[in-house]
Amino acid sequence: MSKTYGILALFDTPPAIYEAAKSVRKAGYTKWDVITPCPLHGMDGAMGITRSKVPIFTFIGGFIGFWVGMFIAWYMGAYDYPLIVNGMPYFSPIFPFPVAYEMTILLAAFGTLGGMFVTNRLPMHYHPVMNYDRFERLTDDKFAVIIEAEDALFDMQKTREFLESFGPAEVTVITDEEEAE
């Protein structure tokens, strides 16, 4: 069994893909993507991509880390095994600060890494575009726009004509191979 994943248009140059991306966005498509072998400056703006959500994960990680660090110091120093050290109180926010600070950085880093995986939906070992016979060129010197069949505006005939109007090198239908049962 196989079903249509979307229509892919292949371009040779960054300016061509940049203009195509702007037009696709203007036409109102929402489920589409651009595949390029390298980062293109300004592509985020052309595609209308808003800022990454990763900093939220970083902040949550750091926030938890700070309080975990403080909790460890309180639990060990003031609750589980109270011990007078250097005439200082059992617990104070001052001396465990380096611990809390290091935990903040550690968990903020974990949050960043985890957030990157979550927002990018990684790990992703299979993507329908891999079925494209010239997929390797997309990691080398070609640029592609792909509009997914799940998009509300998707129409096999009209979307194909729409993409062809940009003068791409080729327009192909990408199919999604489903596993045999």
Partner: protein, 435 residues
Amino acid sequence: MSTSSDVMPAGVSAAGVKGPGNWSLRCLLIGIVFSLLSLFGLLFTTDASDPSRPFLGYMLAVVYWLSILIGMQFLIMLWWMFDAGWSVIIRRQFEHMISALPWLGVLLLPLVIMGLVDTQSGKVAWVWMSMDAPVAGTSGTVADDVLYLHKAPYLNNPFFLLRFFIYFAVWAGLAWAFRTWSFRMDATGDHKYVHRSRVLAAFGLFLSAMATTFASIDWFMTLNYHWFSTMFGVWYFSAAMRAALAAGVLVLFYMGSRTDGLKGIVNSAHYHFMGCLMLAFTVFWAYISFSQYFLIYNANIPEETFWYNIREMNKDGTYNSWWWISMALIFAYFLFPFLYLLWHRNKQGNRLKFIAIWILVFHFIDLYWNIMPQKLWADNEMGYDVRYFTVSWIDVTMFIGVGGIVLWSFLRSASQERPIPIRDPRIKESLNYHE
């Protein structure tokens, strides 16, 4: 010789910021009038309970502006060292600003002369300069104080005077070299000035770091000369960097609003990166300030802890005004700007302008907190009082006076040279910079 072709965006005048809105002469007039007024107050006002208060107010205002210029000079050198491309148009604004460095030496000189000449009136806050001054908290004088005698090979008038001139020779000399070479590159396009500036920046960072560290020891730390902290010089550096970035952002907004300045040249990415640096140095300042407190707290040695004690409580253990300032510094000078600058949208436009002004206000309070509290001699059983947080008129007039001089120097330089270094090899990278 390698050169680059002219890169002249439309609107960049050859002669810089001129004409309406360039109030350099007004600034100079205000600067001279208010500085003289403050000097008059320094010399002729007397306050029996705290005779050295005008001296500190005068110094505070000068070192406030000095910190901004030192920080900008550090940033110029850092950008040379890292061969930074994005910052080239900002570097030129800082080159205009640091033209005021020699003048700050002139403004600070009356304090040094006063310290050398006036050993009787008690108006000089550097108490160790007069041998027969009573030491607050003890029954003796400076000449009897074993802690002074131990430090006398460093803390003596001739060496102090020599060091004063070395510091300003370093700062003003570096400012002269970086400015001259950058402007010559505008005229000739000769890239040898880039290589020269980069070599000088490598040595200059070291020299300026030394000068800044020892200047803060000489001028601020010796106000309580029993006390010592190896973090103190780094604190002044970190505070200077925060102030320089905040002031630098305001300079960018001013220049960015002028068609003969940077209008259409400075873009959101430049502001965003200045905001990122502000965030980084907010954390750095907190790290340094806290580290100093943390080490002294843990070591718990009376010679060190008294410095924090007088910033927290009175003789009888009740909180004094410095305790509230301490809390304000933690929550309003670190925590709030830190959380605020984490947000991307706060590093643009009016939101960035707001936090820059906020940081510049609290920078002054931070200087108050670090410099002003001092043990004052008092005839009571504990032998000392603490100078509380007050704002005296001389703090304000001198702040305006030094500010007038600095802004005059900046505007004069900005009216004589181009607003961007048009023949810098990385100017195109800076003009086209984006996130």
